[in-house]
């Protein structure tokens, strides 16, 4: 019984460590995908003047992962509902919460941008998109630094922590 408990404890700690490590690994990737999506949106607005619903669906087909799902959802909601863009983004973040490894700060950048999307002329839209892109770039750099520091640490820390508790219990 004691052995079984110890194994469970060890596995739980290892699992927790892996989840934390995954967060540090996925966040920079998703931030990069978001930045790519914004670049795509910039092109759609600047050269093709594509309306937002179509632009988001097109962008979704060009990128991968949960960010693509987020874009596809925003695109279809924009086409079907009469809600404002920032409201749709908030709903999308709640819907994809489990799959997104983004911090509150990351989401804030996108929500701030969403509040300005589609309500002004092209020049203005591009300025907002560039600003959000550079903000995301900074966050992405910081996330990459975090990854090099913390991903490996959590990979080892989980099992080590589990082993330590088991040893202490014995």
């Amino acid at each position: 019984m004691k052995l079984f408990g110890s194994i469970c404890l060890f596995l739980a700690c290892t699992g927790y460590g892996l989840i934390r490590a995954r967060y540090y690994r996925e966040r920079p990737r998703q931030l990069q995908q978001l930045r790519l999506a914004l670049q795509g949106l910039e092109t759609e607005i600047e050269y093709a003047q594509t309306p937002l619903p179509v632009a988001f669906v097109r962008i979704a087909s060009r990128i991968n992962g949960p960010v693509a799902g987020l874009c596809a959802f925003v695109g279809s909601e924009l086409a079907e509902s009469s809600r404002a863009v920032d409201e749709i983004f908030k709903t999308a973040f709640t819907k994809f919460d489990q799959q997104l490894y983004l911090t509150k700060e990351d989401r804030e950048v996108i929500c701030l941008l969403a509040a300005t999307l589609g309500i002004s002329d092209r020049k203005d839209q591009l300025k907002h998109l560039k600003l959000a892109s550079s903000n995301l770039h900074q966050l992405e750099q910081r996330a990459a630094e975090d990854r090099t520091r913390l991903e490996k640490m959590w990979n080892y820390l989980g099992p080590l922590l589990g082993a330590l508790i088991v040893v202490l219990l014995y």
Partner: protein, 329 residues
């Protein structure tokens, strides 16, 4: 509200949508425009009658003191009309109107931004909208059919429709285009290839290039193109039998129309005016009349509702049908 008569209702904020449903159907069928002005009551117009939205959610003829259109209402309409993409309609805003799904047109007014040369660059702070409901009225041209073709050569005759604004010129022109295109004008004249140059997206009500109103099965539409240039483009590229355009009046239009007629194409067009004598005073129109570009002139008025026919003249100025008659519209 899925009925085609309410094809504009997706543009309206929910409160207005509900209010429209309380109106009698006959009135809704003839609804012409919604006049939306920020901080002023919402006005709707049909059959020349204006009604205003009251706080009770009903339309009445008295102007209300308390119910006013808010900035949010205008933002809502614009958001729906532009699919949350104001940047995508910059070109249209520069011209002062948007054409939306269903072929309806929204006239916009607000603060204009000029570029360095003093030309209109953009429009910001949109505060006034005029939602004009587009409706094709099939067979409005029914009773004038016999006058509009050459009975010997069985060819359509070039026709100019004259009327003051809001008398159904465009509706009549659209129906003529549709009938020639579908081959329903005369049993012996089969369908003709019609080219439609729609500078203001009013004739075909195109949305993303697709005509939203019925302009016939053999009709090609050049949307948003300046008339003179568009007429030449269509003659060269689409080999039309009939070419249709709206609101002519500039010297370039005259030159393009002359070119069209000399290439053997029948021209259908409209012009603002209140009568033949009025028309003869304008140099451009005078030239067209002297060169016998048009073989038929139709004068419309609103005397007994839109599309009231006031007379038909031939190229020599002879009145073919003096008695005015209301055409079912």
């Amino acid at each position: 509200m899925s009925d085609a008569h309410y094809s504009y209702d997706y543009l309206l904020p929910p409160a207005w949508k509900q209010a429209i449903q309380t109106l009698p159907l006959a009135f809704c069928l003839e609804l012409e425009e919604f006049r939306v002005r920020v901080d002023l009551p919402l006005q709707i117009v049909a059959r020349g009658i204006s009604l205003y939205l009251h706080p009770s959610g009903q339309f009445k003829s008295e102007i209300p003191v308390s119910y006013k259109v808010s900035e949010q209402d205008i933002r809502y309409v614009l958001q729906i009309a532009t699919q949350s993409s104001l940047y995508a309609v910059e070109e249209e805003l520069r011209r002062g109107f948007l054409t939306v799904k269903g072929g309806h047109r929204i006239g916009v007014a607000g603060r204009v931004v000029l570029d360095q040369r003093g030309a209109v660059e953009n429009m910001k702070d949109i505060r006034f909208l005029n939602i004009r409901i587009a409706r094709s009225v099939p067979n409005v041209a029914l009773s004038i059919k016999p006058f509009l073709f050459d009975p010997v050569r069985l060819r359509p005759l070039s026709t100019l429709i004259i009327s003051p604004p809001g008398c159904g010129k465009t509706t009549m022109l659209r129906d003529l285009a549709r009938q020639w295109s579908n081959g329903t004008m005369h049993p012996k004249i089969k369908h003709l290839n019609v080219s439609l140059v729609d500078e203001r997206s009013e004739l075909a009500g195109s949305y993303l290039g697709v005509p939203q109103l019925d302009v016939g099965t053999h009709t090609d539409v050049l949307d948003g193109c300046p008339k003179a240039e568009g007429l030449m483009m269509m003659i060269r590229s689409m080999a039309p039998d009939v070419i249709v355009t709206d609101e002519i009046g500039r010297a370039q239009d005259r030159d393009a129309l002359l070119e069209a007629v000399h290439s053997g194409v029948t021209v259908l067009a409209t012009v603002h005016g209140s009568g033949m004598s009025d028309l003869a005073k304008r140099p451009v129109m005078q030239d067209l009349m002297q060169q016998r570009v048009f073989q038929r002139y139709l004068l419309l008025s609103r005397r007994r509702g839109p599309c009231t026919l006031e007379g038909i003249w031939d190229e020599h100025g002879r009145n073919l049908r003096k008695v005015s008659e209301e055409i079912p519209c």
